[in-house]
Structure formats: C-alpha cells, structure tokens
C-alpha cells in the first residue's frame, strides 16, 4: 500500500464543510485516490461536524480514525476528537487552542492559524472556506491556477467582484499552505477514467438506469438525498417525483404506479420503512412489484438520525405480514450502488415482488472515485404483456410467474387484489385456491435464485480465514485485505442478501474460520447465514455505537481473533 494522508476539517453545522470538501475532492481526484466521508449532528447550525478526506497513492475506501492533518474551524471544534488525534497529528487552529489540554495530552502539534482573522482580512468571514481550500492546495503543491478555475466554476452565478475576492482569499491560504508541504509527501499520479460520486448519487443513477419513472417518498435522513437527486433529474429523465404526506402513502403510491405500468421507487430509512410494512405485504400478495431504498441509521425509533448502523436487515427480510418472496440487495461499492439499484428495478419487474436496496448513512454520505463503465441496457426491459379479452392477472403457472398486464394496454382488464384471489383476481375463500396461490407465489423464489447476484471475493482465492460482510463495510474490509497482504485472509462481500443462494456455501466450506463483520448488535447477516444456509460462523465482529468501523479498529479487532 502506498501512502495516505488523512485530512479532517472540524466545524459547525452550516459552516461550509461541504463546500471545501467539494472543491478539494474535485481537484485532488485528478492526481490521487481519495475517500471522503462526513459525520454530522442532527441539527442545521452549530454543534460539531467533521469531514474526513483521505488522500492516497492507492485506492482507499475506509473511514480512518487517526487524523494526520486537522483543521479546527472554530473554537469549539476539538472536544469530540480526543480519540482521533495523536503525536503525529498536526492541528491548525486559533490562538485559543494554545493551552488546550487535549492537544497537550495527546502530544499533537498545534500550528496557530486564525482563520476568522484571515477571512476578515480577505473581506468577509465567508472566505474562510476559500482560504482553507487555498491552504490545502498550497500544502499539496497543486497549481494555483487550477484552484482559481474551480473557484470560477463554483461561484459562476456570483458577481465578478466576489470571484476576484475569492481568488485573493485562495492566494492567501495558498501561501500559508506552501509552508507545510512536508505534511503531504504523496506521490502525484494521474487518475483517469474515474468519476467522483457519492453513495446517494450511485443509488439515484441506478434508479434512472433501472427505468425509474415515479418516486413517492417522504423525507427522512439519511435517505432524503436520493429523493432530491431524483427530483433534480426528474424533468430531464421523465421521473414524476412526489413528496408523500407520510410513508404509508409513499409506498401505496409507488404500488399504484407499478400497477399502472410505472417503475416506482420509495426511499426512506428504518422508521419510515417500519411504516411501510403493510404495503410491502400488499405488494407481496397482489404481485405488484415495488422498489424501496432503505438507508439505515441507528434505531430503535428515532435513534441517531445522522449516524450509521446496519440494524434493519431483519426488518427487511421479514417485512410485512404473511409469507411471500422478496429480493434484498446491498451495495458495497459505488458501482454496486448503481448496478444493484438498476437490477432491483429489473428483478422486481421480472418476478413481480418487492425489491429492497439496503444502504446506510455511511454509504450514502461518503464519496470517492468510481471507474467509469457502461450500463447494461437489458435492465430496462419490461415484462408487460398486452392483455386479451379474457386476461387473467394471476394465472397459475409452473414457475409461479403470471404474465403481467396493465390497465389500458390490450383489450382485457387487470384486477389487482389484496385478498387471496382467483386467477382472475377476484377475492376468494376457497381453501384449495388459497393453497395453490400461496404455492404459486412462493415458487417464484426458485426463479429468483436463478438470477442470483454473485458475491465478490476480495483477496486470495485460497484463504484460511473468510471475512464476510455486506453493504458499507465493503470499504474497510477490502482495504484491510488489500493492505494486510495476509494471503490467508480474504473478504466475501455479499451483494444479494435475500434470497440467499446455496452456491454461497462453497465459499464457506473452503474457510477454516468464518468471521462476519457487521454494524449491529446481533449479527443479523451471521444469523441469516446460519438459518438459510446452515453456515457456522466462528466469530461475529460487531459494532453498534453509531460510528462506522475504522480501518484501525478492524486491524486491531482482527488481530485479536485471527
């Protein structure tokens, strides 16, 4: 592994951390690999938020606990970071931190910089962000001119005067930064054919790639980003986006849209998804497809709205009353975010079942480079038939899949029903029909498994230890395996969590030791593997504090158990 510098900006909500992040990652991503993530409080102003930008010679994906370079944007920006600084950390902050006990204890190095004063000198406290941007450019020895271009791009709707002043502010920071090039001794490269995107954007793009043309959702952190992403793209991509009055309405709207031939999405978090349970069951019995993106956050109930957890896998596997098939996918990489979301639409349509995309706050709120690729058009295919006069919506077929018609297309009529029903779609109380319809629906699982989305194995094929994870732990576990050069340990990222394919067993049979790593208390995937595939998990590595695993934490935890 090449070298990495972990730069962290610490400030208040609303102080502009996002702007700095955007400016800097846009630039560095041409020359370095980077991974950026943030942890924010559930508030709009004040408090303490941080943004971490890891810059590296190699691909990096994980949250890093230890900070190399820290910017304290105000006088209240350090109190939460005690655990993250050490004697190697260089901190840039105001005079106020001169006698700070934490810094002293940790033997970190403080470099005094009065950002507020500098900003005022530059003309306005809002220039603080530009100064830091300039500082970072200087420190990294990137071209001023490139910075200036970014500024022009970013402030392109502002008056020229403003742009000029920002360019001056950038220069101010640049000069300071130039004195600290020693903090950034990373080999400059040339990263090509990559695109910077966030988890949120990945899911949003995936939806478009899956032919999404309807969104019914109610805002909820951390899932709102996908909603606003699609709202912004709606007109261009022909997506009707509607803010529902509540989550129950949201999924019922989406189901109404699929019934009519639309491809609808609902995006929400655990609490909102809890409210959708009855509608999920409606999708199940009426065999109306639906797609739900669930961006997890720590529960129960309101829990920690802006933090991360993987605590809702069980809820998703068992969502809804009664029994019916479903599909659950969980992206680990950004590319997966696009492809799995796209496939969720395709599979929901093909098998007429609810399909769920499980992400979490850490996944959606992080961004990095993704290698460019071409999407597969096939997933836009729709399995809709033209109806004839005696069309039967719920025809009992061998594979359980009844050709799906929609209203207004063909001569027939389409009867969708939440009761147990006849082939025609009329409510019935016949025990035999009930049994047959139940079996027909359940039979679809066999077909769904034929389309099983294979997991990804990172590391050597001949492993002794198998790390198993899902979703956003991809980053830290793949980084661990790539870095550790311990050919005995590989990492299996399971992309399709439900239904699980028997073929997965192979991976486990090869392993001497199976370790499942999850951000929850119970080890929900571990339990699912045990139940569905009879897999014996030797060790569960669990975290449920609301914070993602850091690379250091994984290293030390795995050292203990391997």
């Amino acid at each position: 592994m090449g070298k990495t510098v972990n730069i962290v900006l610490s400030g208040e909500a609303g102080e502009g951390l996002k702007t700095i992040e955007k400016l800097i990652t846009d630039l560095v991503s041409k020359y370095y690999y980077y991974f950026a993530t943030k942890e924010v409080m559930s508030r709009v102003r004040g408090g303490n938020n941080t943004t971490e930008i890891r810059i590296s010679e190699d691909k990096v994906y994980a949250f890093q606990k230890n900070i190399d370079v820290l910017f304290l944007l105000n006088d209240n920006a350090l109190y939460r970071l005690e655990e993250r600084i050490n004697e190697k950390t260089v901190i840039f902050g105001s005079e106020k931190y001169k006698d700070d006990k934490i810094i002293k204890n940790k033997k970190s190095k403080l470099e005094i910089i009065d950002l507020d004063k500098l900003a005022k000198e530059a003309g306005n406290k809002l220039f603080k962000n530009t100064i830091i941007f300039g500082f970072l450019l200087g420190m990294m020895e990137l071209e001023r001119e490139e910075g200036n271009e970014k500024i022009k791009e970013f402030f392109n709707d502002k008056k020229e005067d403003i742009i000029d002043k920002n360019i001056d502010a950038l220069e101010m920071g640049y000069k300071k930064g130039e004195n600290h090039t020693d903090l950034f001794n990373i080999k400059k490269g040339n990263i090509e054919n990559c695109k910077n995107i966030s988890g949120t954007e990945a899911v949003g793009i995936g939806a478009l790639a899956g032919g999404c043309n309807f969104v019914g959702s109610y805002p909820m952190s951390p899932a709102t980003g996908v909603l606003t992403y699609l709202a912004a793209k709606g007109k261009e991509f022909d997506v009707l986006v509607e803010q529902a009055e509540d989550e129950i309405a949201a999924l019922n709207m989406v189901i109404g849209s699929w019934y009519t031939g639309g491809r609808g999405l609902a995006t929400t978090s655990g609490g909102g998804f809890a409210l959708m349970q009855e509608a999920v069951s409606l999708s199940g019995v009426s065999e109306t497809p639906c797609v739900v993106h669930i961006a997890q956050r720590p529960g129960p109930a309101t829990g920690m709205p802006t933090r991360m957890e993987q605590g809702d896998l069980n809820l998703t596997v068992y969502a809804g009353h009664g029994e019916f098939p479903r599909i659950i996918v969980a992206p680990g990489t950004l590319k997966d975010g696009i492809e799995l979301t796209q496939k969720a639409f395709y599979l929901a349509d093909k098998y007429q079942v609810p399909a769920f995309i499980l992400t979490d706050q850490f996944y959606v709120d992080s961004n990095s480079q993704m290698e460019k690729f071409e999407l597969d058009e096939k997933y836009l295919e729709q399995n809709i038939v033209e109806t004839d006069e005696d069309y039967k919506r719920y025809k009992i077929t061998e594979d359980g899949i009844s050709p799906r018609g929609i209203p207004g297309y063909g001569k027939g009529v389409v009867k969708g029903d939440s009761h147990e029903h006849t082939e025609e779609g009329l409510g019935t109380e016949d025990f035999n029909i009930r049994r047959k319809m139940n079996e027909k629906r359940m039979r679809k699982t066999v077909k769904i498994l034929e389309d099983y989305i294979e997991p990804e194995l990172i590391g050597d094929k001949d492993y002794k230890n198998l790390l198993v994870g899902w979703g956003s732990t991809y980053g830290v576990l793949s980084e661990y395996v790539n870095k550790s050069k311990d050919s005995k340990t590989s990492f299996l990222n399971i992309k399709q969590l439900y239904p699980l394919s028997e073929n997965l067993k192979e991976y486990f049979e090869k392993a001497e030791k199976v370790l499942v790593v999850e951000n929850n208390f119970k080890g929900q995937l571990a339990n699912l593997l045990k139940l569905e595939l009879g897999i014996k998990v030797d060790e569960k590595v669990l975290k449920y504090s609301g914070e993602p695993f850091s690379i250091e934490e994984i290293e030390s935890k795995l050292k203990e158990v391997l």
Partner: protein, 282 residues
C-alpha cells in the same frame, strides 16, 4: 362491452343494503359516459363499500384498508389517460385513510372519490365510523359515541376541494348524475353518498336519511365557496347535490413538471440508457 358482471357472481352484501343501488348507479354512469372498461380503473380499500370493484367488470386495484387514495394517486399520475375512481366506506376513507383524504385534496388529483357513508363500520360488524352520530350505541361504543361526527363536506372544502357533492343511494338516478359530474370534473371530486346499512345501523335507516336530507334546488349557486360552507354547516337537514364546484385550478397532473414538459403518460416514455451513461461517463 358492459361494466356489468356475469350473472353468476355472488355479491356479498346484505339484502336491502344501500350498496346495491350505488353499484347500479355507477355502472350506468360509466356506460352512459361511453367509457371503456379498459380505460377505467377502480381503486378501493377494504370494507363493504370497498368490495365494489369486485362486482363491476373493469380494471381494479383492491388494496389496503384506508390506502386507496394513495394508490389512486399513483395510478392517475402515472397514466393520466385513465379514468380513476377511488371508492370505499366512511371508515376506510375518513378514518384509516384520513390523512390521504386531506392531502390528495390538496393535490387536486383528478379522481372521483366515492365514499359510502353509512355512519358505521359494516364489514367489521358495527363499530362507530368517523361519521357516526353522537350517542350511537355499538358493541364497542357501549354508552354511545362521544366523538363529534366528522363533517366530510366541510373538511373537504377547508382542504381546498374543487368539487364536493353529496348523494343518497336510494335515489339511483340522481346519484348516477352526481357520479357522472364527479367523473367529468377535472380534479379531485368528492361524492359522499348516504347509504343505509340495514344490518348494523338501525338508527340511520333509509327513512332517517330521507327525512334528514333534501336536494339543493336548481338555482343554488355551487360556485360560491361561502354558499358551500353554509350548506356544509347546516344542522337540520343535509343538503344533497353538488355543493361546490370550482374550476379555479388545474389538476395535479397538469401542474406537475413532467407533464408540463409533455402529455405522454410517464410510463410510456421511452427510456434510453445512453442518457444515464452520461451521468457516469461525463
């Protein structure tokens, strides 16, 4: 082609139930309007009234108790070429579905909303509904209802409905005409239909509804909101007919940006993977 079902169907309503004439009125309205079954979607929830689509031959989606309006919204906004009728009981629509009632009025989504108001929960055997009158005794409200009856007409007006009407099931002809107007209205149209439940409401009987209602006369101006409120709040007798109608605004789908761009139903628009590839590759 007729909306009437084949004759061997077993209709699960009680003999004498007010739902029968409503069914007739609806079928006739649809046929007189020369609509085709394939272009009509009936959306309902759960309850006796909500069984209606099962007894009509047309497209339908018979979903969850209380949620029909939300499904109806999804249907209409995905394909505005369809005629969408959302139908159900007073419990279904004003109780469990109260929130969707309110907010879809705000949307002015172009659906006809037919609510069978029998002032009771029929299917679950006689508990109070939101429109049950004070003092109404049931196995659950053993000492009588103590919640104020909900006034759907006033509520719909206050939420900004562009069409508000009330009908009485026993007057098949008039009910049919009101339903037609509701279906023709471009935007949300409420028809609250008085409907005697012969099994569980022994107070608000056919006679009671008759004695406690009257038809608005021909020169009633239903374009005036203040007239409408006055009628909505009348205490003696309930007015029947179209109480309010406004053409003030376009319906939801006229105003939404995807339909301002073009009329084609969203689900019929061609999807092109190339444009999505640009998001990744540019």
């Amino acid at each position: 082609m007729t909306f009437e079902v084949r004759d061997n169907i077993d209709i699960a309503w009680c003999p004498g139930c007010g739902n029968f004439p409503i069914r007739k009125a609806l079928i006739q309205a649809l046929e007189e309007m020369n609509l085709e079954q394939k272009d009509v979607v009936l959306v309902s929830g759960i309850g006796q009234a909500a069984k209606m689509p099962q007894y009509l031959n047309s497209n339908f989606f018979n979903g969850l108790h209380g949620r029909a309006m939300a499904v109806g919204f999804g249907v209409k906004s995905t394909n505005p070429d369809l005629k969408v009728i959302v139908e159900g009981g007073d419990g279904d629509m004003y109780g469990e579905g109260g929130n969707h009632f309110l907010h879809n009025i705000r949307r002015n989504i172009d659906v006809a909303h037919l609510v069978h108001n029998n002032m009771v929960y029929g299917l679950t055997k006689g508990q109070a509904s939101p429109t049950s009158q004070l003092g109404f005794e049931t196995p659950l409200q053993v000492d009588g209802v103590i919640l104020k009856p909900l006034n759907p007409i006033a509520l719909a007006l206050s939420a900004g409905a562009t069409f508000v009407a009330r009908a009485f099931s026993s007057d098949m002809e008039k009910t049919k005409e009101i339903i037609k107007k509701a279906i023709n209205h471009k935007g949300y149209a409420l028809v609250d239909i008085f409907q005697p439940c012969v099994s569980f409401n022994k107070i608000n009987t056919n006679k009671w509804y008759k004695d406690n209602s009257y038809y608005l006369d021909d020169n009633y101006d239903n374009t005036s909101l203040s007239n409408a409120y006055e009628k909505a709040l009348e205490k003696d007798k309930f007015p029947l007919g179209v109480i309010y109608k406004s053409d003030e605004g376009n319906s939801y789908t006229d105003r939404h940006n995807v339909y301002q761009k073009e009329n084609t139903p969203v689900h019929k628009r061609k999807k092109d993977i190339k444009s999505v590839n640009k998001l990744i590759n540019s």
